[in-house]
């Protein structure tokens, strides 16, 4: 069979398919990408990670688990401006959601670690967060035969710090919120969004929000200076050390007030906003973004459209909308 005839028959076959079935909607090629399906991971590790996620023995005084601040039922974070650390004092940065965290290119507001494992490491050993150390954690977990068994079944080398981190990271990779209306739209179901929301998306692109909030996680893949078009912190007042962002890490003036661009997925349910929780509502946050990041004066109508669009980014967790 010649290549030409192969191609011909292939074309005819495709044509037949096209006639036979209702036209399958092609995914839209946009700068925003739909969420990938939840990866298939070792169920034993995922289950172990789930238990550890809810395990207060990870903290120094057995008072805090990951789930204490990252509440899956309320958007993967708490609705406090600042969560309480192990010593009962609030931490310095707003708790970001754990949902879709595995899609962020780096972890933490200042992107100081590259992996989820390292993120676990940081939080567990941070004196203001969980305030523990790995020796204690492993010891505390070893005291429970259930963990011993679960670890020796999931990992050849059993219970140790690296495997605790790995189990947690594995679990966190399953914490995705698929099936948001906007994802369905991106996958080709253009009817799912109202005209208003589609306009909102148009404004989102036109005003340049998309310059930073793009990709599969609608953000979370670059750093950006907070205050491109003006000094936000001066306007807000009371500048804090935590406002320095990546500068604390690199000591490079270039990185002053530079933060990881957060993901906008589920943004409607993760108030308050920004690292300093300074925006209580989505409207406030959008205002700040327009003024200090975009340097634009949008009409009230456009802002509302954009907010409507942002609300389509809310996905589902275990089959229920967040």
């Amino acid at each position: 069979m010649s290549p030409v005839s192969t191609a011909c028959s292939g074309f005819i076959f495709a044509l037949c398919l096209g006639i036979g079935a209702p036209l399958a909607a092609a995914p839209l090629n946009e700068a925003l990408k739909p969420l990938a399906p939840v990866p298939t991971l070792d169920p034993a590790k995922v289950e172990l990670g789930r238990q550890l996620f809810n395990e207060p023995r990870l903290s120094a005084n057995n008072s805090l688990s990951c789930a204490s601040c990252h509440r899956l039922e309320s958007g993967g974070a708490d609705n406090q401006p600042f969560s309480m650390g192990v010593d009962g004092k609030p931490v310095t940065l707003n708790t970001p959601t754990v949902f879709n965290a595995s899609l962020n290119f780096k972890q933490f507001w200042n992107g100081r670690v590259d992996t989820l494992q390292a993120q676990v490491e940081e939080v567990v050993t941070s004196p203001v967060e969980m305030g523990s150390d790995w020796k204690t954690v492993v010891q505390n977990l070893s005291a429970l035969p259930a963990y011993q068994n679960a670890f020796s079944q999931a990992y050849p080398d059993g219970l140790n710090a690296a495997n605790v981190q790995n189990a947690l990271a594995t679990y966190e990779r399953t914490l995705l919120t698929p099936n948001s209306r906007f994802d369905q739209y991106l996958q080709g179901n253009t009817e799912i969004l109202t005209t208003q929301e589609k306009y909102g998306y148009q404004r989102f692109k036109d005003y340049g929000c998309i310059a930073c909030h793009q990709g599969v996680n609608i953000g979370g893949n670059m750093f950006q200076k907070f205050g491109v078009m003006g000094d936000y912190f001066q306007a807000r007042g009371n500048p804090l050390e935590s406002d320095l962002g990546r500068y604390l890490l690199t000591k490079d003036d270039e990185d002053r007030n530079v933060f990881k661009v957060p993901s906008l997925r589920n943004v409607a349910v993760t108030a308050p906003y920004f690292h300093d929780a300074s925006a209580k509502t989505l409207e406030q946050a959008v205002d700040v973004m327009f003024k200090y990041q975009l340097g634009r004066n949008p009409t009230q109508e456009d802002k509302e459209l954009i907010i409507q669009f942002l609300k389509t980014l809310t996905g589902e967790w275990v089959g229920k909308p967040l």
Binding site: A211, M222, Q224
Partner: protein, 608 residues
């Protein structure tokens, strides 16, 4: 001494052989391992990883450029290559174990240089993303911002517009030079834009209030472009200057050299292996020759063994034949001995009977010697002397008168005498008949010699007694007979007689040593059960010591000086031949003995 040293030598050679085998085997294994290290595979894999890294790096560069010219707004492709490169880099590092010790630091230094480069590039790319995003945003927005201002110009009346014509033109020029600046960034253009911005700031003061905000926004964005464009450009240059590709090339070169060196070593070991293999082959050939030789030797020895074996077999055969011959000779002599035994037996029995014959003849001759017939002769002499006067003599002579009486007495005596002699001769005849029987029996010994005839057991025992009568009377033996009434039976007369004669004779001998005591033989016959007959001969003689009890029936056993040891033996045999049994019992020396013959009782009327 000699064998000991040979043993030592053998053990030493065995140890030597073992050591040599061990040495050869380990050399082979060593060379094999050295020449077949899985280095090429590792090399290929490492090269593959490096190639992937190079590809990802190129992809990364191209994504940076795409972002630079605003083909895409999606920055994910600028993140994924780094993630992949980090993963592959870690894999590459985990494979560095095979490098030689001297080589490892250089390789690791190259890897470290690569890591530094990639970190630097990642940092620059992150900065590029940030700056490029805002720059692209502002550039994209610039025409719109200008349009906003123009819209305001258009909304005011013609007079005012004429007044502000130069401002509008300046603003438009500023927009154009900013866009040009984005394409060709130079200090002169930057200076132009700065001048333009200054002009705009001055113009702004003369513009109506509604112009303030759009102009602010425009000048802000132009300032941003002015600020960010050189940064983005310099970042791009710096990104291009980061020697990631060069580091990767270094690593590749290093890997190639390493592989070449390894190949060289590999070849060397291959050569060694070849030489060693040749040596082994030579050794094997030598051993094969040795083996063939040993094989021939073994064959030779085998053949010698086989011939020796054959000789041995012949000798064994010969010896077996000799043995067979000896055995048949033995058999013959045994047969002769048997015959001699039979002859002895016969003679013994004949001897016993002859004894009776002798006694009878003796009695007859004694009777003849003392015959009254001699008196007849004397009477006749008297008659002859008185031939003439016979009548006178008989009537008158003293002597003559007695003569007729004497003759009458004589006739009576002679008649008695003749009767006795005729009896004795009849007995003699009987004995001779017995001898005839014995001889004829022995002559037909091999055949079924049992001759059953009706007989009275009591009469038979009496015959036996009579055969021993002389001896018994000589030894003054009293015979007590305790015969139970037994009907006429079928039996082997000769054998029974033989046994009884022997037993009576033995009993008589057994009592020959008794001097004071009365000598008595008790003969008992009784029927036991329905069909058994028991005949016993009891004496009061010397008895049998218990140690002899088991031996008395064996051939050749005797306690008598002139005995030959056949009597009891032949009796026992005869008893067995009659399906009976001969047993002996004694209470010990001095308490006498009882010999009991038990035979089946077959009544005379029951067969025939």
């Amino acid at each position: 001494m000699n064998s000991l040293s040979r043993l030592d030598r053998r053990r030493a050679s065995q140890v030597l052989l073992g050591l040599m085998t061990l040495f050869l085997a380990s050399t082979l294994v060593f060379l094999y391992l050295k020449s077949s290290r899985d280095q090429t595979a590792t090399y290929t894999q490492s090269r593959d990883l490096l190639r992937q890294l190079q590809q990802l790096n190129a992809q990364w560069d191209s994504e940076v450029l795409k972002a630079r010219i605003a083909i895409t707004h999606n920055y994910d492709p600028l993140v994924t290559p780094l993630t992949e490169m980090t993963r592959i880099g870690a894999e590459l590092e985990s494979r560095s174990a095979y490098h030689s010790a001297a080589d490892l630091p250089v390789w690791q230094a190259s890897l470290a240089a690569y890591r530094t480069a990639i970190q630097e590039k990642a940092r620059l790319v992150d900065q590029f993303k940030s700056h490029n995003a805002v720059l692209r945003n502002s550039l994209a927005f610039l025409p719109t911002a200008e349009d906003d201002i123009q819209a305001h110009f258009n909304s005011i009346d013609d007079e005012g517009r004429l007044q502000l014509q130069s401002v509008a033109t300046d603003t438009y020029d500023l927009l154009l030079s900013s866009l040009e600046f984005a394409q060709v960034t130079s200090d002169e253009r930057a200076a132009d834009i700065l001048v333009g911005l200054g002009k705009l700031a001055i113009n702004q003061q003369n513009l109506p209030l509604e112009f303030q905000a759009p102009v602010d926004i425009l000048s802000n964005h132009i300032s941003l472009i002015l600020r960010e464009q050189p940064i983005v450009n310099s970042l791009l240059e710096r990104i291009a200057a980061v020697p990631v590709a060069e580091r990767l090339d270094t690593l590749t070169t290093h890997l190639d050299q390493d592989q070449q060196a390894a190949d060289l070593v590999d070849h060397q070991y291959h050569r060694y292996l070849l030489v060693f293999s040749t040596l082994l082959v030579v050794l094997l050939l030598y051993l094969a020759v040795r083996l063939l030789r040993s094989f021939a030797e073994i064959n030779r020895v085998n053949r010698a063994l086989q011939s020796a074996n054959e000789t041995l077999e012949q000798r064994v055969e010969r010896r077996t034949q000799q043995l067979k011959d000896a055995q048949s000779e033995l058999l013959d002599s045994a047969r002769q001995a048997g015959m001699a035994e039979i002859a002895t037996n016969v003679l013994h029995n004949v001897g016993n009977v002859l004894n009776s014959v002798n006694i009878s003849a003796d009695l007859v001759s004694r009777s003849l010697r003392s015959s009254k017939a001699l008196g007849l002769g004397k009477a006749m002499q008297l008659i002859n002397a008185h031939q003439g006067d016979l009548g006178t003599f008989l009537t008158e002579d003293e002597k003559g008168k007695l003569l007729p009486g004497y003759l009458n007495q004589l006739v009576d005596a002679i008649a008695i005498e003749q009767q006795g002699m005729s009896d004795e001769l009849a007995q003699l005849n009987k004995s001779v008949d017995h001898i005839k029987d014995i001889v004829s029996t022995q002559q037909s010994y091999a055949g079924a010699s049992t001759l059953l005839e009706p007989l009275e057991i009591g009469a038979l025992i009496d015959d036996a007694l009579r055969m021993n009568a002389g001896a018994l009377s000589r030894h003054h033996v009293t015979v007590v007979k305790q015969y139970a009434p037994v009907p006429q039976m079928l039996g082997d007369k000769h054998r029974l007689l033989l046994i009884m004669v022997n037993l009576i004779s033995n009993a008589k001998y057994a009592m020959s040593t008794l001097s004071e005591q009365a000598r008595q033989i008790t003969l008992t016959v009784q029927q036991t059960g329905d069909d058994m007959l028991k005949i016993s001969v009891k004496d009061d003689g010397e008895g049998i010591p218990s140690e002899n009890m088991t031996r008395i029936f064996t051939h050749g056993f005797t306690t008598r000086k002139e005995g030959h040891g056949f009597g009891l033996h032949s009796c026992a045999l005869a008893a067995v031949e009659m399906h009976g049994q001969l047993t002996a019992h004694s209470d010990g020396p001095g308490h006498g003995a009882v010999f009991t013959l038990t035979i089946p009782l077959t009544l005379a009327g029951s067969t025939s």
